[in-house]
C-alpha cells in the first residue's frame, strides 16, 4: 500500500460514534470524549480520513468523506466527525514528546483513508487536550 505524508496545512477527520460524543444530561451533544482517540486493543494506528482529499467547502468535503465511508460500513445518524489540522495535531503531540506521522494510504477501500501512526493513545492527558483543544471541531452527521 502506497503512503503519502499529508501536508501540515490540511485537515483530517475522525469519525466519532454516538457513544464517544460528550452529551449533557439531556443528550445534547456538547463535545467529544477523550476516549474517541483511544486505540482499540490490537490497533497500531489511529484511523481518520483526509478532509482535503475532496474539493468544496469544509462541510461539502466532510459530506464526501461520509459518503465514501458509508459505502463500506454503516455510520450512525447521531455520530459525528471530529476535525483537526495536521500541523496543530503534530505540534500538540510533540509538546507531549510524541512524533506522529499522518499518512494517506492509497489502495484502502475508503479513498481518503488516513493513518495516524506513532499516536500515543495511552497518554490520557494528551487525549483530554486533543478532545477539548485542537481536535474538538465537530460536524454531526445529521447536519451534513
Amino acid at each position: 500500500m502506497k503512503t503519502t505524508n499529508i501536508p501540515d496545512i490540511d485537515d483530517i477527520a475522525r469519525h466519532v460514534p454516538w457513544a464517544r460524543l460528550e452529551k449533557d444530561e439531556d443528550d445534547n451533544v456538547i463535545g467529544i470524549y477523550p476516549e474517541a482517540f483511544r486505540l482499540r486493543e490490537g490497533e497500531s494506528y489511529l484511523s481518520a480520513c483526509w478532509v482535503d482529499f475532496y474539493a468544496g467547502t469544509k462541510p461539502q468535503k466532510i459530506r464526501q468523506n461520509y459518503d465514501d465511508m458509508s459505502k463500506r460500513r454503516s455510520l450512525g445518524k447521531k455520530s459525528g466527525f471530529a476535525i483537526t489540522n495536521v500541523g496543530s495535531l503534530k505540534c500538540t503531540c510533540e509538546g507531549r514528546g510524541a512524533k506522529p506521522r499522518v499518512v494517506h494510504e492509497t489502495g484502502h477501500p475508503t479513498q481518503s483513508y488516513v493513518a495516524v501512526r506513532k499516536f500515543p493513545s495511552d497518554d490520557d492527558e494528551l487525549l483530554e487536550i486533543l478532545a477539548t483543544g485542537c481536535w474538538s471541531e465537530l460536524f454531526l452527521v445529521k447536519d451534513l
Binding site: 460514534p17 457513544a19 460528550e22 450512525g76 492527558e125 477539548t132
Partner: protein, 190 residues
C-alpha cells in the same frame, strides 16, 4: 449381530446428526451453509447486537434500582432515558462491547461517593466502560468506570484564564478526596 465397529459408526452418525440439528436450530446453517446470504448474516448480527444491548440496558437499570434509596426519582428516570439512547443498536459500533454490569456498579458507587445530585452526560468506551461527564463552560470532569471500583478520571479547569488539565486512576471511594483540590464539586452538585 451388529459388530462393535458398526455400533461405533451408528453412534457417531447419531452424534453428528444431533450436532447438526442443534447448530441448525441455533441458526449456524451448518446443514446448508450456502443458503445464508450476506443480508441474512447482517440481519442476524444486528439481532444479536440488539439482544446484547437489551441485556446491558437491563443490567444498568437493575443496578440503579438496587440503590434507589440514594437517588431521587427524576435522576433515575432521566438516567434510564439516557441509557436507552446510549445503547441504541442503530448507533452502536458493532465492534464495541456493550456496557458491562461491573462498570455500572462502579459508576453507581462513584455517584454515591461523590454525592452527585446533578445527572451526568453519559457515553461508553469501546471496551464496555460507562463514561460520565459534567461540564460548565470550559470546565469539565470525565469519569470512566472500570471493574472493581476502579475509575479513570480527567479534569479540565479554567482558572483565571489559565487552562489546567489533570488525569488519573483511582477507586470510587478515593475519588472525592482527589477531586477536592480541583474545586469541581459545583460541576456535579446541582
Amino acid at each position: 449381530m451388529i459388530s462393535d465397529s458398526s455400533t461405533e459408526r451408528v453412534g457417531q452418525y447419531a452424534n453428528d446428526l444431533l450436532k447438526a440439528d442443534l447448530a441448525f436450530r441455533r441458526g449456524e446453517g451448518l446443514l446448508f451453509p450456502a443458503t445464508r446470504t450476506s443480508a441474512q448474516k447482517t440481519a442476524r448480527a444486528k439481532e444479536d447486537l440488539s439482544s446484547q444491548l437489551f441485556e446491558s440496558r437491563a443490567a444498568g437499570k437493575i443496578a440503579t434500582a438496587q440503590i434507589a434509596m440514594h437517588l431521587d426519582r427524576d435522576w433515575r428516570d432521566g438516567f434510564f432515558r439516557q441509557l436507552d439512547s446510549l445503547l441504541d443498536a442503530d448507533e452502536w459500533e458493532p465492534d464495541d462491547e456493550p456496557v458491562t454490569q461491573l462498570s455500572y456498579k462502579t459508576f453507581l458507587r462513584t455517584i454515591v461517593h461523590l454525592g452527585a445530585t446533578r445527572r451526568p452526560g453519559i457515553g461508553a468506551s469501546e471496551d464496555g466502560q460507562l463514561i460520565a461527564s459534567w461540564r460548565n463552560g470550559d470546565d469539565r470532569l470525565v469519569i470512566i468506570s472500570g471493574q472493581n471500583d476502579r475509575v479513570r478520571w480527567s479534569v479540565r479547569r479554567n482558572i483565571d484564564g489559565e487552562l489546567e488539565v489533570a488525569t488519573g486512576v483511582t477507586t470510587a471511594a478515593r475519588l472525592p478526596r482527589i477531586l477536592e483540590s480541583f474545586d469541581c464539586e459545583k460541576l456535579y452538585k446541582a
